[in-house]
């Protein structure tokens, strides 16, 4: 019957509209989450340390971009070409005062100290002399050398962490992140090519960092194996 057919068509259209709206909502949500989650640029030449860093940072609901050298980090930040920050591939004026509105944000830079080529200290200096200067930079090192630590802190490093890194180290970085500006926009770069690892941007289903607090001490001190229903005698 006529009315039956029309009814079905209407239903179909409704359904499609609903689907589209849901998809749109999902995209919006993802975008929001991306904006809410802090983005960390992590620099380390060691494959293992990068893997560890990635896991630690994602566990804390950060978005992570991993690169394996200071040069790659500078490239990512659009600082590679010259002191004037003129980047031929990006759009017009790379103004040193106000970064352009759209684009990526970096809330924290974590870098290893000892790397072939550019050291973490050199990277720190470059960053502090650029329009990314307000982004907190954390240096990591396996060596506990007071003069090195002092040097980095004096150059503007927010924190100096001793390797190997633990979850508690990453968690305490939250305070540094909350201090930094909300967004650090830049010329939008296609950042998929920068990643040395396969996964970078993670849209975490966990909520905003500020509201998330892990019960640290019991977990860290627990030495029992993570197997359920087991009593070790």
């Amino acid at each position: 019957m006529e009315s039956g057919a029309v009814h079905t068509q209407q239903q179909e259209e409704e359904k499609q509209k609903q689907q589209r709206e849901e998809e749109e909502e999902k995209r919006e949500q993802q975008k929001e989450e991306e904006e809410e989650n802090f983005h960390v640029l992590a620099v380390d030449d060691s494959f293992i340390d990068r893997k560890l860093l990635e896991r630690l940072l994602k566990e804390s609901s950060y978005q992570v971009t991993l690169v394996d050298s200071g040069d790659k980090a500078l490239e990512y930040l659009g600082l590679l070409d010259s002191i004037d920050n003129v980047n031929a591939t990006s759009s017009s004026s790379s103004s040193s005062q106000s970064p352009q509105q759209e684009g990526m944000k970096v809330n924290l830079i974590m870098t290893d100290y000892c790397m072939p080529g550019m050291s973490g200290y050199d990277l720190l200096k470059r960053v502090k002399g650029s329009y990314w200067k307000d982004v907190p930079v954390v240096i990591m090192s396996s060596e506990n050398i007071p003069s090195r630590i002092r040097m980095c802190l004096e150059e503007g490093a927010e924190e100096f962490l001793l390797k190997p890194l633990q979850l508690s180290d990453v968690e305490k970085l939250q305070t540094h992140l909350l201090k930094s500006p909300e967004k650090y926009s830049s010329i939008r770069i296609d950042d998929s090519s920068f990643n040395t690892e396969s996964s970078s941007v993670t849209v975490s289903s966990k909520s905003n960092i500020a509201s998330k607090r892990k019960a640290l001490s019991p977990e860290i001190e627990e030495r029992r194996p993570k197997l359920k229903g087991l009593a070790v005698v």
Binding site: E59, P164, Q166, L167, V232
Partner: protein
């Protein structure tokens, strides 16, 4: 063997790895990072380490054997990286040998370097065997759990 028995075996082996000094706290840290989304994180890290370390060992050997003038700086660099990697997953004994090696390096003591390196390779291989067994056991216990 039932699940409980397997899990008990896993716990025992784990405990002995720690008691005998093969692993340290960092291994715990890595295990704590495992969850449903990342159930094999530790094994992945260890696998990564061992696939990488063969190269280190080769490089170090090349830099030491049959060399009239040993480049201690280079040796130290290699060992620094190797030490860093092993410490990242809690390989306690391996890390200790790395430190020892670096001391011999800074003293220009090639005999010491050679001796220490031999010991390092031994510890490196031993740990690999033990961890392979451990992860196998963990998998078995996990599978038993799912049944």
């Amino acid at each position: 063997m039932d699940r409980k028995q397997l899990q008990y075996q896993v716990a025992c082996m784990r405990k002995s790895l720690f008691d005998q000094g093969y692993l340290d706290e960092q291994f715990n840290q890595l295990e704590d990072l495992q969850d449903e989304a990342n159930p094999n994180f530790v094994e992945e890290v260890v696998t990564l380490f061992y696939s990488d370390s063969a190269r280190f060992i080769h490089n170090i050997e090349q830099a030491m054997i049959n060399k009239p003038n040993i480049d201690y700086g280079k040796l130290d660099d290699y060992m620094h990286q190797f030490k860093g990697s092993s410490s990242s997953f809690g390989a306690k004994k391996v890390k200790k040998e790395c430190s020892q090696f670096r001391e011999c390096c800074s003293a220009g003591n090639i005999e010491g370097c050679i001796k220490t390196f031999r010991q390092l390779k031994l510890e490196h291989a031993t740990l690999k065997r033990k961890l392979e067994t451990y992860f196998q056991l963990v998998k078995q216990a996990g599978i038993a759990e799912r049944r």
